[in-house]
Symmetry: C2
Subunit: 217 residues, 2 copies
């Protein structure tokens, strides 16, 4: 009845420290990992990585929402060598963010094993950061694969969507719009800039706290 012996140790948690010896483009995507028609590839290509534990100030050109011009302004909340996250331009609620791999990966099954682990790590970090930044403690994580599953942009992405307590009617609107029907509001750019700054700061807090936790082990 006893299971076979099993290496039950979890892989080590990577350090968040910068390595001044490595180039920012190590492990970077090759051209074949980019789709020139994909809006999320465009976002990836114009926002270079920064240290999530020490984000640049809002005034930095590295975070300028107009870098994606003439496409809609993009409010970055995370930009690592492998992942980017930003505010959804048609949010279902305040703090609705998207997390995706930097290279073009149509579906979740197209990411590499290492990328999938990195997505999992940052999904928790972003969730904690969005909760702290919005003050809303309940939220949904949604990730759609393929047209039948209501995927619109064919570059895989997780939605993190805060769920303030809603009256039933708004709640029904939520479930109807989550899968691509109904109305969603457009992002107000001033509010978005302020919110993105707050989320970047809470991401940094969570990443630094995780680093201290690991250092204690």
């Amino acid at each position: 009845m006893a299971p076979k012996d099993y290496d039950s140790s979890l892989p080590p948690v990577p350090s968040f420290d910068f390595d001044p010896g490595s180039s920012p483009n190590d492990n970077a995507s090759s051209d074949s990992d980019t789709d020139s028609t994909c809006p999320f590839c465009h976002i990836s290509s114009v926002f270079p990585p920064y240290d999530p534990a020490d984000p640049p100030p809002s005034s930095s050109p590295l975070l300028n929402p107009e870098r994606t011009s003439p496409q809609p302004a993009t409010f970055i909340i995370l930009s690592t060598p492998h992942l980017v996250a930003f505010l959804d331009i048609m949010p279902l609620s305040i703090g609705h963010v998207l997390l995706c791999p930097r290279p073009h990966r149509p579906k979740l099954t197209d990411v590499s094993p290492a990328e999938s682990a990195e997505l999992g790590r940052y999904l928790r970090i972003l969730s904690a950061a969005v909760v702290r930044a919005t003050g809303v403690g309940d939220w949904n994580v949604v990730q759609n694969n393929g047209a039948a599953a209501a995927q619109v942009v064919p570059h895989m992405h997780f939605h993190v969507i805060p769920r303030p307590e809603l009256r039933d009617q708004r709640s029904e609107r939520f479930t109807a719009t989550m899968f691509g029907r109904g109305q969603r509001d457009e992002l107000d750019e001033d509010e978005a800039a302020e919110l993105a700054e707050r989320v970047r700061r809470t991401v940094a807090e969570v990443v630094r706290a995780d680093g201290e936790e690991v250092a204690k082990l």
Copy 2:
């Protein structure tokens, strides 16, 4: 304009090999990680881990769906030292599975950094396995945190839900029931046993293919 240098290497992909020197209970959850009223903790407690690359045969007592008796039968598709996955007992479609951490973690923000990476890794593996086992290439991943987000069992879990092309009516039923309203069908136990066996086999195929990919690097 250039970002600071950044250690851009992804953490190494862990090996799936068994380590005969380690105990299956290394890193196991302490009692404080278990909630005696939680159905998913009950599932975790009665199904020991097995090697996902080499699952026991369906006839093995390790996989007996009645291990959760008198709670509903449970059709396990993955059982590692840190995670369990099983068929949803009220599936929205054939192949609807749940993935959760073995210890009691109410929300995604309650998992450890290492657990979050492991969840990310297996979310991709399970997605690939469910696609292969059902022949349905589109699917949703959903994870609800808190009552306002329609979380029912307060032990965090990802839903992986195949989305065969549906007529509009069934599609609307899907969006309405995803967040806890409306009717869902109960699992047929004979079909479930056959499906779980198929998914365990496709999980093993994906895990072994990943291992070969890593060995080639």
